[in-house]
Symmetry: C2
Subunit: 463 residues, 2 copies
């Protein structure tokens, strides 16, 4: 029998990989986590405010019902703070700027009724669908045969209603409704408690933040794993057979393990070279799972001046670069921070401009929402996640039409000793931090069950 350095190797030190590694470690097995970057956290990342305090530039929010991440946060000794939501919201839609309180902006009543009916249809549908990668029945296949844009066009009757759901789609999926399968869209919404969870802060997926920034989760997990986590180790090749996986490390070393958990986004899992190669079904699936695209910008002010003027800091637009805006001020109350999201095609367009032009557009937009004080930030931190080599898009992947029907089961199905984690593989809260945690637990369970089922040999033995 060939030498085995560890029981389990995990590729990727995002939340999914770290959770999986900790479970494996707690199960009594040796584990090593290989991370390409010089940091842990994946799509979860803290940056520094001018005063040195952390601010999230990646995934940040958690909501009620997200049991796995809430349990983890409590377990790690972290605490939550509510997202600021008091005050008027701004909706820049169809050429008009509305300021409103409550759940529903004062749109044309016919359009509102259309949106209400469309959302009801969508909710009824999404509640009964299998999770992404689940069994595709006739009804699911019919959804998968169309883009989400086609579904919206069919089920909404007014131009305003369709445009409204187009821009909500862009905010939720960070891509255009034409880009993704209606089945992915609906399964995803079902797995995330429906569209409503994205539209209101209280009770929704944006309800809470993590004090100290979400990357704390990854940093503490990594500290618990200690020197089991190796940074600056991009994995380019995995050799495998039925009962082992071997990974070439920098400096020509090789790490051998009995099982591997690949905890990177689907498209990146395909950029590793496997020997033997992955089965066609798995490869074809991940060829059809592109990442959404979002530029996240934190705009920092001395104080959250918009609160003083009765604004919540929440704004949405169907045409501006500052397309989605949230109050991202730290729990301490200062400095004032607005998190600005530029999603989908709008991100493509502004990414081609000089940074100064993009900044100018964002500040102009924020001034249009909250007044001229928005024009004088003290700091400005932007990140285009699609340009990040080891992420290549955010918030997450989606499937293109018919990919789930043709190849869905390959999303989670292990290949020999290779197991798949990452928020895209979650059955619930897909593509969220909670999804990452769920997927990490699930992959670790697969691996420990397989290792326990096999007679457990000593972790290092000679041929």
């Amino acid at each position: 029998m060939p030498q085995r350095d560890v029981d389990v190797v995990v590729v990727g030190a995002g939340i999914a990989g770290l959770v999986a590694a900790r479970d494996v470690m707690r199960g009594g097995f040796d584990v090593v986590v290989l991370e390409a970057r010089e940091r842990v956290g994946g799509r979860v990342l803290n940056a520094e405010l001018p005063d040195g305090a952390p601010i999230e530039v990646g995934g940040a929010w958690v909501g009620p019902g997200q049991t796995e991440i809430l349990d983890l946060i409590a377990d790690l000794g972290l605490s939550l703070s509510p997202t600021h939501a008091e005050g008027r919201k701004v909706l820049d839609f169809n050429g008009r700027t509305l300021r409103y309180t409550g759940r529903i902006p004062r749109l044309n009543p016919v359009v509102l009724a259309d949106i209400g009916y469309g959302s009801w249809r969508l909710g009824r549908l999404t509640r009964t669908l299998p999770p992404p990668g689940g069994m595709v029945d006739t009804r699911a296949a019919a959804l998968d045969a169309q883009t989400f844009a086609a579904w919206l066009y069919r089920h909404l009757r007014t131009r305003g209603g369709r445009e409204f759901l187009r821009f909500v789609t862009r905010a939720v999926f960070t891509t255009e409704p034409e880009d993704l399968s209606a089945l992915w869209a609906c399964s995803y919404l079902g797995a995330n408690q429906g569209l409503g969870a994205f539209l209101t802060i209280e009770g929704g997926v944006l309800q809470n933040r993590i004090v100290g920034g979400s990357q704390q989760i990854a940093l503490i997990l990594a500290a618990q794993l200690g020197d089991r986590v190796r940074l600056n180790c991009p994995v380019t090749e995995v050799e495998w057979d039925d009962d082992s996986a071997r990974i070439r490390l920098p400096e020509s070393a090789t790490l051998s393990a009995r099982r591997a958990i690949i905890a990177v986004p689907p498209i990146l899992s395909g950029r590793i070279r496997y020997a033997p190669p992955l089965p066609a079904d798995r490869d074809q699936l991940i060829q059809r799972m592109p990442m959404g695209r979002v530029i996240k910008t934190n705009v920092i002010y001395d104080e959250p001046f918009w609160r003083r003027d009765g604004f919540s800091g929440q704004a949405n637009s169907d045409r501006r670069t500052a397309a989605t805006v949230l109050d991202n001020t730290p729990a301490a109350g200062a400095p004032g921070v607005l998190a600005v999201f530029t999603e989908g095609r709008r991100a493509d367009l502004v990414s081609r401009l000089p940074q100064s032009d993009r900044r100018q557009q964002v500040l102009t937009d924020l001034a249009a929402y909250f007044g001229p004080a928005a024009k004088d930030p003290i700091a400005y931190i932007e990140l285009d996640w699609a340009a990040e080599q080891y992420t290549r898009g955010c918030y997450g992947a989606f499937t293109t039409p018919s990919a789930l029907t043709r190849f869905g089961p390959a999303l989670r199905a292990p290949v020999g000793p290779l197991h798949w984690a990452g928020s895209e593989t979650a059955r619930r809260w897909t593509c969220s931090m909670n999804g990452a945690v769920e997927s990490g637990h699930r992959a670790a369970r697969e691996v420990t069950e397989a290792l326990n089922a096999a007679q457990k040999p000593p972790t290092t033995q000679s041929a």
Copy 2:
């Protein structure tokens, strides 16, 4: 100035890469071609018949108007033989098996009229579209916002007509009409002289074959390039800056060049690690260009028995594993060979069966078309191109909805010293051998113009 080993490195020894390398060599520059496999040819490959004669298991046919490949074939001293097309054709459609001569099978006249009208609409549209990756105007963007299935559904009125064009789509694009953008489908058809070019052998893209098998093209080109072609050199990493590209070779050597031509399918070009990473636009595009899927099977008999019974060997089915069949008998007239194609979703399904079951299905289908003699082949050669690590699907890539609108120009736009070739990047005859040749010439032209424009230093110099 850092050391440069060669002027130009080409990644991929398919027809595109080899043509590019030869042009570069003829332009007076040093060139090296790195090929991952132990052979040249990419999607063009000969296998051996029982008598030792070559038979094509990949791309094989050329048609009139394909100037670039026809010129190359003549230049290499190769000759053409006509595809056998005489005799009755078989159409297994909508539960009935028709045997017919001439262009048009005896379908229900209403369905025939619908197909005629739909094809006319399609032809009118495709003739006026830009090539894949060209300028997307309002009309092209509207096409790109829908799947080809949606276009077919809208423009055909009968169930039979829609189903007929569905199965024609599967044969042409080796994927389901739901999978691809209507813009890609229409641009592609426009670039390939319209749908008609795929439907009739004489005058179409299947009119001729290359005596000795299509891989001869690659083999002779490689012989002309001599030791400039290095096999068994998978490229996993390209470091680049404004005026050079460095590629790590096996055994820790590094090859340095002033320009690089990446001549592999789009999805595979994304599986190379670039330092610095590729721009987001290029990466997002190739995340949205999956490969079609086809299993090509050559079924070999002592003689082409179907000819004796008045069959052309051509058959098409909307439900059988032997979905597209052509007479692939060598020009010598024996042994008899049927080339069988199983495309798209049908390929997914049968790829999950044991090989013996697949073979059983194919032979049953061929017997249904041509009689019981089909059940006794003397040899059987099948290749699932989606399982090939260094191809990952055939005949070619396509784009998913809105990918060309958002990222189309990135298809051919060089990135620093990196240039893109491969049949998917061709402006005409996209995804054919002719497209490969065109793209190779174009990439070589880009590179030699850039090298000539710069002051040409000696090819090796020290810092």
